[in-house]
């Protein structure tokens, strides 16, 4: 109860600070199970996106956040108790003894993110299948993360995810990691709603601590139209394109 009250307060503050305007483009607020996926430029992203949803939906919508950032003290309290975030590990813990990963653990390696591989590799999204060192028989990080997300979705919840995996500068939307595709493969019944967050990189850019009150916009687009047998490349393309299109409005 306490957490809910605080969440409402934080949401009101985020809305006031950023004077945010919301546009639902061919999309209506709904209690249907959804995955809201958005571009990612600021720590405020999920707070603002969450805060513009109708109050009755907020209790059902859970942001997905990186455990390494939100794992201690006040951050952890906010993430877990206030926003009911799903915390996932986005990189393997420093390896202890194992040598380089076995070839079979690379099978999920996605191809579409190759250009950004070097710069992005240190902040791999947990839901990104990647070269992971693990003991035989142990769940890989990707499988664990996916399990966490599916469990969090459950029968009635929705999720907020940032498929870029890490915050960008706001100029370009980085290629999406493939976790969102795997999520869809397991739950094709869920609506995938693209969201574009404008100006939040100016409110609280990566690396800054103090926010500046700049008017931001949240644009929610129509749910993705998907074929039953969409390939990974095609799914990721459609999803990325949907967010980019909203950004050009």
């Amino acid at each position: 109860m306490n957490g809910e009250w605080l969440a409402g307060l934080i949401a009101a503050f985020a809305r006031g600070l950023t004077g945010v305007t919301v546009q639902w483009m061919n999309c209506q607020p709904s209690a249907r199970q959804r995955v809201y996926f958005a571009n990612h430029t600021s720590h405020l992203d999920f707070v603002v996106l969450w805060s513009v949803l109708p109050r009755e939906l907020r209790a059902l919508v859970r942001p997905v956040a990186a455990q390494d950032y939100w794992n201690s003290g006040l951050r952890k309290y906010l993430a877990v108790n206030v926003f009911h975030a799903v915390l996932i590990e986005r990189r393997a813990r420093p390896s202890t003894s194992k040598p380089a990963g076995k070839p079979d653990s690379v099978q999920h390696q996605s191809v579409e993110q190759a250009p950004l591989q070097q710069s992005a590799s240190i902040e791999q999204s947990a839901i990104e299948p990647t070269r992971i060192e693990r003991a035989p028989g142990e769940h890989s990080l990707i499988e664990q993360a996916l399990d966490n997300l599916l469990e969090a979705l459950g029968e009635k919840n929705s999720l907020i995810i940032f498929p870029e995996g890490t915050r960008g500068t706001g100029e370009v939307i980085a290629p999406f990691k493939s976790g969102i595709y795997h999520l869809w493969r397991h739950r094709p019944d869920v609506e995938f709603v693209p969201v574009y967050l404008a100006n939040l990189n100016r409110v609280l850019p990566k690396g800054e601590f103090l926010p500046v009150p700049i008017i931001s916009r949240v644009i929610l687009g129509p749910p993705l139209q998907l074929e039953p047998h969409e390939t990974k490349e095609s799914f990721i393309n459609k999803a990325h394109q949907a967010v980019c299109t909203l950004g050009e409005l």
């Binding site: 004077g19 305007t21 850019p205 800054e208 500046v212």
Partner: protein, 314 residues
């Protein structure tokens, strides 16, 4: 501190309520008679504007009644929101972030705090001198030199218009005029004349407007609206001489000045909007657009009106 509610203030408030009632009635009648699609849209916007006028007058009257500090607080908030609209609209760079934080959370409150403690000397110098030197310094410390002068100029210009110029309106309340000490009526006079000028220009422009004054900058401004609006608002201002330290003729001259400067402000702010390809600065005030759309005339008229009054009447 509660301002003394004298007979003059009561008369003004009564007249404002009457005017608002009259416009609401006219708006209602028009909403029943409008035929064409374009006409209906115009009337809908007109009624949204009238509704917003009720709220704006209510808030403004309330803060006037609280006394000088009420006005100072109201305009501090207005400056903050206006600066937010301006900074959101223009291009800023990632390296401007900390300078912007200073502008919003240090310079803006400081300007109004100086009014609050009646430190006139620093009030007139803070933004044009200290902020003018501080902003480029802070940007230089950031280390990013690309577009340096542009970025510094944009931020400083925003502070000048949204904070410095607007803060002259509540500064009228602390002017030390014999017989009018801490009198909110001078501020009321400025706001009434400047806003009525906008309203009259809108009405004359909608009814008779044909010849555009500056089609590339502000397509809605016409010679008919300009002349009709300026004349009407100046006449009303001259008729309000009794609430000011001015004679009838002086009130007429001041009103003419306020309306002409108000027009200039509208034109300049329109140029910024056209450059950034937007129609309005924001959506805060229903029917009107943003705070800056409503206050562009006050931005230009307040500082000049203040200094003329201070020079000749204190």
């Amino acid at each position: 501190m509660i301002a003394k509610l004298d007979h003059q203030m009561l008369w003004i408030f009564a007249a404002l309520v009457a005017l608002l009632l009259l416009s609401s009635v006219i708006g209602f009648v028009l909403s029943r008679t409008a035929q064409s699609e374009g006409g209906k849209a115009t009337v809908k916007n007109l009624n949204a504007r009238i509704g917003a006028w009720w709220k704006m007058c209510g808030i403004f009257a309330l803060t006037l009644l609280i006394g000088p500090n009420g006005s100072i607080f109201l305009f501090a908030l207005i400056s903050f929101l206006a600066l937010r609209e301006y900074i959101s609209l223009i291009r800023t760079s990632r390296a401007d972030h900390n300078t912007l934080f200073w502008s919003f959370f240090v310079i803006t409150p400081l300007q109004y705090w100086l009014l609050y403690i009646h430190w006139y000397g620093l009030f007139v110098a803070l933004v044009p001198v200290y902020a003018f030197l501080f902003i480029p310094l802070r940007l230089a410390l950031e280390g990013d030199t690309s577009g340096f002068l542009d970025r510094a100029a944009r931020i400083h210009w925003g502070l000048m218009i949204c904070v410095y110029c607007i803060s002259y309106a509540p500064a009228l309340v602390i002017l030390d005029i014999p017989g009018h000490r801490q009198d909110p009526k001078l501020l009321l006079f400025l706001v009434i004349v400047a806003q009525l000028s906008d309203v009259f220009q809108y009405i004359w422009g909608k009814m008779l407007g044909k010849r555009k004054i500056a089609p590339h900058v502000s397509p809605n401004k016409t010679w008919e609206g300009f002349v009709g609006g300026i004349l009407c608002a100046t006449a009303v201002g001259a008729g309000l001489w009794w609430m000011t330290p001015f004679s009838r003729l002086q009130a007429l001259a001041m009103s003419l000045l306020i309306t002409l400067l108000g027009f200039a402000g509208g034109l300049v702010m329109s140029a910024i909007k056209r450059d950034r390809s937007v129609k309005d600065f924001g959506t805060t005030i229903e029917g009107h657009g943003g705070i800056l759309d409503r206050l562009d005339s006050v931005c230009f008229s307040a500082p000049i009106f203040f200094h003329l009054t201070r020079y000749f009447f204190t």
